[in-house]
Amino acid sequence: MYHIEVRHLKKYYEVHHKAPGFWGSLRSLVRRETRTVRAVDDISFTVAPGEIVGFLGPNGAGKTTTLKVLSGLLYPTAGEVRVLGFTPHERQPAFLRQITLVMGQKQQLLWDLPAIETLLINKAIYEIPDDEFRRTLDELTELLELGTLLTKQVRKLSLGERMKCELAAALLHRPKVLFLDEPTIGLDVTMQAKVRQFIAEYNARYGATVLLTSHYMADVAALAKRVIIIDHGHLVYDGDLETLVQQVAPYKVITVTLRQSVSPSVLKPFGHVLAANGVKVSIQVPRGTTSRVAARLLQEFAVDDLTIEEPPLEEIIQHVFTGGIREASPDVA
């Protein structure tokens, strides 16, 4: 049984545009000129219970649109979508009680009241019993380090504080399926790390299924084993994040700090020299030979320090978008 099933999903937007000025608006009265935006154009995938999947793609790829269809906000143009066995756009209460959608923006919190008021409304609307409400609230307060934030007027909270309260409001009913759209956007690095950690803990504690989009590759790398990459509404990769890294970037980067500087040409035989700033040198070497090359470097030079790293994820994703994916994922139709 899958928690999320998407088959040949399409979502097209009809955009009306009218020529500027008076005559433009007059003409558009007679004949509406519309343009079709194919935001999601035939994608299929499934997600198993308890999985965390990173949903990646450049701006305008169709990620948000997909999440909105999955959470029942949008009717699909074509295709079939099931979440927990429900058809999302029917918006049955039993379905809505088990999911949540978090977007990194002003959302459900009542602006002029303390966040606790929104939580109390949700308690009633989601029919959460008193003791369960207490327990969940305590847990969320602990996990999100809410402290006294809930009793402050929402408009007076900082962006990061508000995001934490939004998360609390979105998770109070302990949804089984979480759709998180850029949950860390605009937050500072420490706050990002905290939210990330929270998502991991929520997933571990409740076995919730998470579909997550993020600009910050650190979010994805930390949380998701599996990634789905879309571009222009098409699926370009669906699989293991590690496999993707190995296939798209079949190399690693060795950085050594030498006791004394050497000429780059001496290092040529070891691999592609990326940077050589005095004693600090970065060399790109094929994945399979990394340990051999490292051993030779240690043998032939006086080395103070040596690290082996994956290339940055940003670079890899970029590579996927610019066409490096074909040879990378034979399993994608």
Partner: protein, 262 residues
């Protein structure tokens, strides 16, 4: 369901408290009936006009302020905005129809108006001899029922027009147009009994008077017996009509909702 209503109410009340100054100022803009009242009093010059004695004008327009404020709904702008800018999305994610939230918010702000409005109903009869209302228990009950139905009808009419924002960008202009008709055919500006008979009869079949004049005429004791029953029947029919229309517009509109926003 009772719990949910109560929670939504509480929040609506909190919101109304946060905006109490604005609400008060809005109420001041609803004083046109006072102007109309003084116009009629000077026109009448102590004589009756049609079926209206001078004192009746006082009862009518002061009571009119009360009815108007109790029936008034101002959600068309919120709703249009919510649809156009995607602010409806968080409401759609909750397992409760957003209409209940809008209803509760509107109702929760009503009690805030009472401290200003109730004195008006008392003051008129005190200051103007002959002015007053029919306060027998049965009539008060009839008044409260027709008032509640008037609110419901007004709410659903406005909600339906607001939902047109799924299809068009001019929903609030349409509301403005509707409201101009309302000013005339509801009896808000001029008592419907003082119009030419043809207009009076026409207005009895249109929805407008059932959102205003009906409860007001009941309060003044101008309606009773079979006429009252007949009137309430028409009022209920209009409510049912607009509830049905709402259901259709809502389910079709959601298909077109584009959930704008990040």
């Amino acid at each position: 369901m009772w719990h949910k209503w109560w929670a939504l109410f509480r929040a609506g009340w909190g919101n109304a408290l946060a905006y109490r100054a604005e609400i008060f100022i809005w109420m001041l803009t609803g004083t046109l009936p006072l102007v109309m009242m003084s116009v009629w009093l000077s026109v009448a010059g102590g004589e009756a006009v049609g079926s209206f004695q001078p004192a009746d004008f006082v009862s009518y327009y002061l009571g009119g302020i009360f009815v108007r404020q109790m029936v008034g709904v101002w959600i068309v702008w919120d709703l249009e905005r919510a649809i156009r800018l995607g602010e409806l999305s968080p409401k759609l994610l909750r397992p409760i129809n957003p209409i209940y939230e809008y209803m509760a918010e509107n109702l929760a702000a009503k009690p805030m108006r009472l401290p200003v409005l109730l004195p008006l109903l008392v003051l008129g009869p005190l200051l103007y001899p002959g002015a007053g209302y029919e306060l027998s228990p049965a009539n008060v009950l009839a008044f409260l029922v027709t008032l509640a139905l008037a609110w419901l009808l007004y709410f659903f009419i406005q909600y339906c027009i607001g939902l047109l924002a799924f299809w068009m960008s001019q929903a609030t202009s349409l509301w403005q147009a509707w409201f101009h008709l309302w000013l005339v055919f509801s009896g808000y500006l001029i008592p419907l009994d003082l119009f030419p008979p043809l207009v009076t009869r026409l207005s009895a079949w249109l929805p407008f008077r059932y959102t205003f004049a009906l409860p007001l005429e009941v309060l003044m004791g101008r309606l009773g017996g079979t006429v009252l029953v007949h009137q309430v029947a028409i009022q209920v029919a209009w409510v049912l009509f607009f509830v049905a229309l709402y259901r259709m517009l809502w389910s079709r509109g959601l298909r077109r909702y584009s959930a704008v926003g990040a």
